[in-house]
């Protein structure tokens, strides 16, 4: 009895203390100039490392914390929380930033010069350009005696039935890279027809997550997938039986950008400086993984550059994304 009581006491006190500690450590996040800058990012590991290296070597070490998210979770948070977001700085797919800005006017115009090759809104500056490519599991390709595809259109051929995984544009923006390529090369009607056959081949493997196809290729579930090029490059370099094909329709790309939260009087002044530091100092390292040039004076002579880099003729807006979502739904019917 005594033991139980003292135990209960201890537990209660311990819990109460830890709970309070939890509150105060997390509750103290109201920004001041000496506060750490909170960075939310949907970027891959390589990109995060480049960002951290740029910040650390320019005197910001220990002055920020980075929190990674999946694109959908961070997208949801941006739209729902708006200016109340914990983060002072975000890096995120550019068209998501655009929709969040449209809905919540939550970002500050950047106060430094951004010399991009293409035009970007004044509140964001691109950090990476992520390309799409066809992924292959070389062992399965050989085992099943499948011909190596050269284009996305080839994936519509019935020989690949049951051996293909793609992503669903309803839930993942990676799929947009594939649909852009089809719409650009064959027009919307042509794209819809090809897409319908691709979906038929993919069957059970129209994945919700952008990482789904590579996951299935790695697990040996399918021989062919469509996904982010740099991830396949990394797997191949690791010695996995993974290879990639740059489709002749083009390696289309999506950019991810940095933006600074507008929190009124509570805006962390360091956030803007860090955004500038990231843009000015991380591009060299980033281009090793994401070779496409984004700024004036950059070239793409990296060993990892794709065969057919291409950009969609229209700006990649949220509205275009919705239009292509509809195209994809029509192709499923």
């Amino acid at each position: 009895m005594k033991m139980r009581k003292s135990l209960a006491c201890c537990l209660t006190v311990a819990a109460a203390v830890s709970l309070l500690a939890g509150c105060s450590s997390a509750g103290g996040s109201a920004s001041g100039s000496d506060e750490q800058v909170v960075i939310y990012s949907n970027a891959d590991d390589e990109a995060l490392t480049a960002i951290k290296n740029a910040l650390d070597s320019n005197g910001y070490e220990g002055k920020y914390i980075v929190q990674g998210f999946g694109t959908s979770e961070l997208g949801g948070k941006l739209l729902a929380e708006g200016k109340n977001l914990e983060a002072d700085l975000v890096t995120m797919s550019t068209f998501y930033l655009q929709s969040a800005q449209d809905a919540n006017s939550m970002f500050l115009p950047l106060d430094f010069e951004v010399k991009t090759l293409e035009e970007f809104p004044d509140y964001c500056a691109p950090i990476t350009s992520q390309e799409g490519a066809i992924l292959l599991n070389t062992e399965l390709m050989e085992q099943e005696g499948l011909p190596r595809p050269a284009s996305i259109k080839d994936l519509a051929s019935p020989v690949y039935e049951g051996q293909l995984a793609v992503t669903d544009i309803q839930s993942s923006s990676t799929a947009w890279l594939l649909i852009q390529a089809l719409a650009d090369a064959y027009g919307e009607d042509g794209a819809e027809k090809i897409l319908a056959d691709i979906y038929k081949n993919a069957g059970d493997h129209i994945e919700t997550s952008g990482s789904g196809p590579l996951k299935l290729c790695r697990a040996g579930e399918v021989a062919i997938g469509f996904g982010l090029r740099h991830q396949a490059v990394a797997d191949k370099a690791d010695g996995l039986p993974i290879d990639f094909v740059d489709p002749t329709e083009g390696n289309f790309s999506l950019t991810e950008s940095v933006a600074v939260l507008d929190k009124g009087g509570k805006t962390n002044p360091l956030a803007m400086d860090m955004a500038q530091c990231i843009i000015e100092n991380s591009r060299k390292e980033l281009q090793q993984t994401y070779p496409n040039p984004l700024y004036k004076g950059e070239s793409s002579d990296s060993a990892n550059k794709s065969a057919y880099p291409k950009t969609f003729p229209e700006p990649l807006t949220f509205e275009l994304f919705q239009k292509h979502q509809q195209l994809s739904e029509d192709a499923k019917q």
């Binding site: 009895m1 939890g22 996040s29 729902a80 309803q170 040996g220």
Partner: protein, 543 residues
């Protein structure tokens, strides 16, 4: 004296009511608002367009079918396992092994289930390789069934196992003496007193399956389920919170049906004045047959998870199968890991402590009080609603409500979210065990001059101790593995292990995902062992 007792119970009731109003009702109302209010004011357009979507109703039907099938299978499996433990003379080690196997899936984050199934039954899977052939078509109904059954067996088992401990086994003898046949003895002495719990277990399992979107994302194939639609709407390519809210609201409707079913089955609950442990008579045939059934089911469960222990230890499953500790080393190189780990433990401990108190208080009201029925009904309804809410919906609703308040991104909010999200099973466990105890204790004690509180502390609590500890560990373990709601409310300074796992999964570092999952598993096993030790110590003290 009676009025005094009710004052204490009413305080408990209103505390519970306050917690659930703020952290369940209010967020849900905000969400409900979203489903009706568009840019041009109040509208039914969102409902119309969701229901008109040609995929929606078939997906809803699929969800019902696969969730019900999985829940039925899980309940039967859990019953067999629990029966073997309580009603046979199978060796103790076997009983302990079966118990451990039945609980194992609960100790791992659900993210690992999809992997476990693909890496076990897929084309290059461990089991496929061992057998030389693929057992079944992985994607679609069968994959979902497998995933859901594994996911829900622990909960069904916990509920049934817990209640069986409070059933008087003398009825077995009595029934035999009365000359009942084997089957009717089985019905009268075992199944009938369990009906309420069996239905409870089925309903829990049903809603867990109905609302989960992680398993469909991995192995759903082209078999559409409504939870996947919810995911796509809420946080898909374009977050559409209004239509997402519509789907969430529609998904809540079946919980109303479940409230009715449980109400009807309540009549079957039986109270025992005394729980007597009789020696079961010798019956090797019974022991061998149930023992075999229990072993086979346990081995099946373990075999699916075996791969989780293999993957982190090899270079790159399934293509480079040399032994390697690189993934484990890499995962532990992350210097933020220690922070996340301590956040996880703190959060789980707080969730367990306060959650257990809340569930206990709620169960005291419904199972051992003379408060009017409307109070009891309110609590039962709360429990069923919490059960039918997908964690993601709770997380998204919190995201609308709490940003800008001091609670944003705090561990406190995460603890509250867990307590609300997982309330149902602990409450049912407590209620089942409390309602099986002699109803006269409080009256007797009060006639002897003890206050209500004293009676609860001196008489009821010691007798409910094993259930309280079960509930404590249930909350702890679930707080350690949960993710769907937390991913929206955790902040950069309150990251926990599972949000880290989510991040690793997103960047394709699956091996590290497995390493962290194993870390969670080991933590949970240690915690569970500590709780069992504690239970034993306390039981000894009592004697």
């Amino acid at each position: 004296m009676d009025t005094r007792k009710n004052i204490e119970l009413k305080i408990i009731f209103w505390t519970i009511a306050a917690v659930f109003s703020l952290f369940l009702a209010l967020p849900l109302l905000v969400l409900l608002g979203r489903s009706f209010v568009g840019d041009q004011g109040v509208t039914l357009e969102f409902y119309r367009s969701v229901i008109a979507d040609r995929k929606f109703l078939p997906a809803l039907g699929n969800s019902f079918l696969v969730a019900a099938a999985a829940a039925l299978a899980a309940t039967v499996i859990a019953f067999v396992l629990a029966y073997m433990i309580h009603y046979t003379n199978a060796p103790l080690w076997l009983k302990q092994a079966v118990r451990a196997a039945a609980m194992l899936p609960m100790f791992l984050p659900t993210i690992t289930y999809g992997f476990a199934i693909i890496y076990s039954f897929g084309k290059q899977g461990l089991i496929t390789r061992l057998l030389g052939t693929q057992l079944f078509d992985l994607y679609g109904f069968m994959g979902l069934m497998t995933g859901y059954v594994i996911y829900t067996v622990p909960v069904a088992f916990l509920l049934i196992h817990n209640t069986m401990g409070y059933i008087d086994k003398k009825t077995l003898v009595v029934s035999k003496v009365m000359g009942d046949g084997t089957f009717s003895t089985f019905w009268i002495a075992v199944v009938r007193p369990l009906l309420g719990t069996l239905a409870g277990a089925f309903i829990q399992a049903f809603f867990l399956s109905f609302t989960d979107f992680g398993i469909p994302a991995s192995v759903g194939g082209s078999y559409d389920v409504v939870a996947a639609i919810l995911y796509n709407k809420m946080i898909g390519g374009i977050p559409d919170f209004s239509r997402g809210a519509v789907v969430a609201v529609i998904m809540l409707i079946p919980s109303i049906g479940s409230i009715c079913i449980l109400r009807i089955l309540e009549r079957f609950n039986i109270r025992y004045n005394r729980i007597s442990d009789i020696d079961l008579k010798k019956d090797p045939a019974r022991d061998i047959s149930w023992g075999t059934a229990g072993s086979v089911l346990s081995i099946l469960i373990l075999s699916i998870f075996a791969v989780i222990f293999v993957v982190p230890m090899v270079e790159e499953w399934p293509y480079k199968t040399g032994f390697s500790l690189d993934h484990i080393r890499n995962a532990f190189l992350d210097h933020e890991l220690l922070d996340s780990y301590s956040h996880s433990i703190t959060m789980a401990a707080c969730t367990a402590l306060f959650g257990t108190l809340l569930a206990y208080g709620a169960a005291l009201i419904t199972a051992r009080s003379t408060l009017p029925d409307r109070y009891k009904r309110a609590i039962d309804s709360i429990s069923l609603v919490t059960n039918a809410i997908p964690g993601m919906v709770l997380g998204v609703a919190y995201m609308f409500l709490f940003p800008g308040t001091p609670l944003q991104n705090t561990l406190t909010l995460m603890v509250l979210c867990n307590i609300v999200h997982y309330f149902s099973t602990p409450y049912l466990m407590m209620k089942n065990s409390l309602s099986k105890m002699n109803a006269g204790w409080e009256t007797t004690a009060m006639l002897m001059g003890d206050s209500w509180l004293k009676t609860i502390i001196r008489v009821v609590t010691p007798n409910a101790l094993s259930s309280l500890l079960e509930v404590f560990s249930y909350y702890f373990i679930n707080a350690m593995v949960t993710i769907s709601a937390l991913v929206f409310i955790a902040g950069a300074r309150t990251m926990v292990l599972t949000t880290k796992i989510k991040q690793l999964q997103y960047i394709n570092k699956f091996n590290e995902v497995f390493v962290l999952s194993l870390l969670i598993l080991i933590t949970n096993l240690i915690a569970k062992a500590l709780f069992s030790l504690l239970a034993k110590k306390l039981a000894e003290k009592k004697k």
